[in-house]
């Protein structure tokens, strides 16, 4: 393949920049990932399955996926409200709150982790409020969900906000002229239009939640079979030099990530077909 022929610009530097890019990507990304996949395939599909269904590993995977799902679901509801409120209403402090939505992106996960742990521990700000009721958040799966809600919120809000901004107002007015109450308009006209964005945000938050490590391990109890997440188990396996186990878990998580990405693409393709837009 002659790059010179395919290039259709007079600008120089194509070979140099593309070459450097490919080398960089190759060394940093492709090579290590290839090693992972090779390692995984050397275990074979049945080997992978065998490892994946080991009780402790299976429990960790189940924990990670189900709690990430729950957190993403919570985020869809509340994140949707936040996106709506930030987009549609004017109130003092709105700008500040809008900027704060990016905090989980900006704050290092370990910092978020210890902070959340401190708040929800039995002697913490909120933990001490609910302790008399016999409830516990920190060191339980509930704590993991709290951490994952924190981590996933911006995905929903930032995905849905632009769509809300693009909503055509005359459609809502049309609905009103036809006799629909505001609630009906929101439910029958606005919500369906937001659904693709909500689903995409959900998938993103879910994907991030499955792989999250730093913000979770401090507030989770990390008890095997109860509150141990898959990424933590990878670290444990590595410390035990069980490379095979670590590889297997990592491969499954990667596979899940790609499936989610694929789903997102499908959602967007479906949305384009149905609505004519994303």
């Amino acid at each position: 393949m002659s790059l010179a022929i395919r290039r259709n610009s007079v600008l120089p530097g194509f070979g140099l920049t593309l070459g450097y890019t490919l080398v960089y990507l190759g060394v940093i990304v492709l090579l290590p990932l290839a090693v992972l996949i090779l390692r995984a395939s050397s275990l074979g599909a049945s080997g992978l399955w065998h490892i994946a269904t080991e009780p402790r590993i299976f429990a960790a995977l189940k924990t990670s996926f189900s709690l990430a799902l729950a957190a993403a679901a919570i985020n869809v509801v509340f994140g949707g409200v936040v996106a709506w409120v930030l987009s549609r209403y004017e109130f003092p402090g709105r700008r500040l709150l809008d900027a704060s939505v990016d905090l989980p992106f900006a704050l290092p996960t370990a910092v978020a982790g210890i902070s959340l742990a401190a708040i929800y521990a039995p002697n913490g700000l909120i933990g001490s409020l609910i302790a008399p009721l016999g409830w516990k958040i920190a060191y339980t799966p509930l704590g993991i969900v709290v951490a994952l809600v924190f981590i996933g919120l911006p995905f929903i809000v930032r995905t849905v906000q632009p769509v809300i901004a693009e909503l055509e107002l005359d459609v809502e007015e049309a609905s009103a002229t036809l006799g629909a109450t505001r609630l009906q308009t929101l439910g029958r006209v606005v919500l369906p239009t937001l659904t693709p964005a909500l689903l995409t945000g959900f998938a993103l938050a879910f994907a991030r939640g499955v792989g999250e490590y730093g913000s979770v391990i401090f507030i989770a109890g990390n008890l095997p079979f109860v509150s141990e997440i898959a990424p933590l188990l990878i670290v444990v396996k590595l410390e035990q030099f069980d490379y095979a186990g670590a590889t297997a878990i990592a491969t499954l998580m990667l596979a899940a990530s790609f499936l989610i990405l694929l789903t997102i693409n499908l959602i967007q393709a479906w949305s384009r077909r149905r609505f004519g837009h994303v």
Binding site: R6, V35, S100, S115, P162, F218, I234
Partner: protein, 307 residues
């Protein structure tokens, strides 16, 4: 595919533009909008949720950091282990960020200014780190360079340490942060097209001169934006670095890792003291990002990021 992934921040042009449109929106749907009561309820729900889940953790960091007094706070930061952690974090960032800048510029140049097959696949590759768990990111380098890794024996034979040493940390950090600069630049440079550069070339400028005097000024704000995000993530990365570092105090602990160690030793105030520095960095980054967005929105990438 990648435009929807772990986006660090919303499109700048959007956020300013949407604010303008909202102002319009608020006026027009005054009659057909929600009742004040319902709207007030929604605002209250959103406020409580955000305060509880976002603002509170941030506030607690600073609260706990100073809980034992300012003297204890400063003492914690002056501990030798803390100082070497800070130094290491800065060092890693000082290596990773410039490397990523060069990569970002190169990749954006190749992708935005030329047409070639497989371009969208390449862009998806660049977005890959966003969809990989940080622990997995660390794992892959252990598999490659660890004692039992592919290159393990070779490295040992040549007495080179990557995993459980600084190079490994740098590599892992590069992995999780290189998309930031590249994405911002690619989006913007694709928007801008090749017109300006072609004009410069036709006037006789060399490639390098064109790049320095035409391209760079056009992208400087997006570049700054990407560097900010890249840097924040580089300094704050935990999971990936945790796996490759070996947690050797004073040697291979970055600030996030040091926070973990302090916390696990029940040295809570010190843990939060170090954490507060990182939180401060996050706030500065957010503020700078907001500033860049509101003032230079049309110098940052537009909404369209299809590939």
């Amino acid at each position: 595919m990648s435009e929807t992934l772990a986006r660090w921040a919303p499109e700048a042009a959007e956020s300013v533009w949407t604010r303008k449109k909202f102002a319009l929106a608020r006026g027009r749907s005054a009659v057909t909008g929600e009742s004040r009561v319902f709207a007030g309820f929604l605002v209250a729900v959103a406020l409580v949720f955000l305060l509880l889940f976002l603002v509170l953790p941030l506030a607690v960091v600073f609260y706990e950091a100073f809980a034992s007094g300012v003297a204890a706070y400063l003492a914690a930061l002056e501990q030798p282990d803390a100082r070497s952690a800070i130094a290491l974090t800065l060092t890693v960032a000082a290596i990773a960020v410039p490397l990523n800048i060069i990569f970002g510029l190169a990749a954006a140049w190749a992708i935005a200014k030329f047409r070639f097959p497989g371009k969208s696949f390449l862009v998806s590759l660049i977005d890959l780190p966003f969809s990989v768990s940080p622990v997995v990111a660390g794992l892959i380098y252990v598999l490659l360079f660890g004692a039992q890794g592919v290159f393990g024996p070779w490295l040992r034979a040549h007495d080179i340490e990557i995993v459980f040493a600084v190079p490994g940390i740098v590599l892992a950090t590069i992995f999780v942060t290189f998309p930031f600069v590249a994405r911002e630049l690619i989006a913007l440079m694709e928007d801008q097209g090749t017109g300006d550069e072609e004009v410069a070339l036709s006037l006789g400028a060399s490639g390098v001169t064109t790049f320095l005097r035409v391209t760079l000024p056009n992208i400087k704000w997006a570049l700054l934006y990407g560097v900010l995000l890249c840097n924040a993530r580089a300094m704050g990365e935990f999971g990936a670095v945790s796996v490759v570092s070996g947690h050797i105090r004073g040697l291979t602990n970055t600030m996030p890792l040091h926070v973990e160690i302090l916390y696990n030793e029940y040295n809570i105030a010190a843990a939060f003291a170090v954490a507060s520095l990182l939180a401060l960095l996050a706030l500065v980054t957010l503020a700078a990002k907001t500033l860049l967005e509101t003032r230079f929105n049309d110098a940052l990438p537009g909404k369209s990021r299809g590939h």
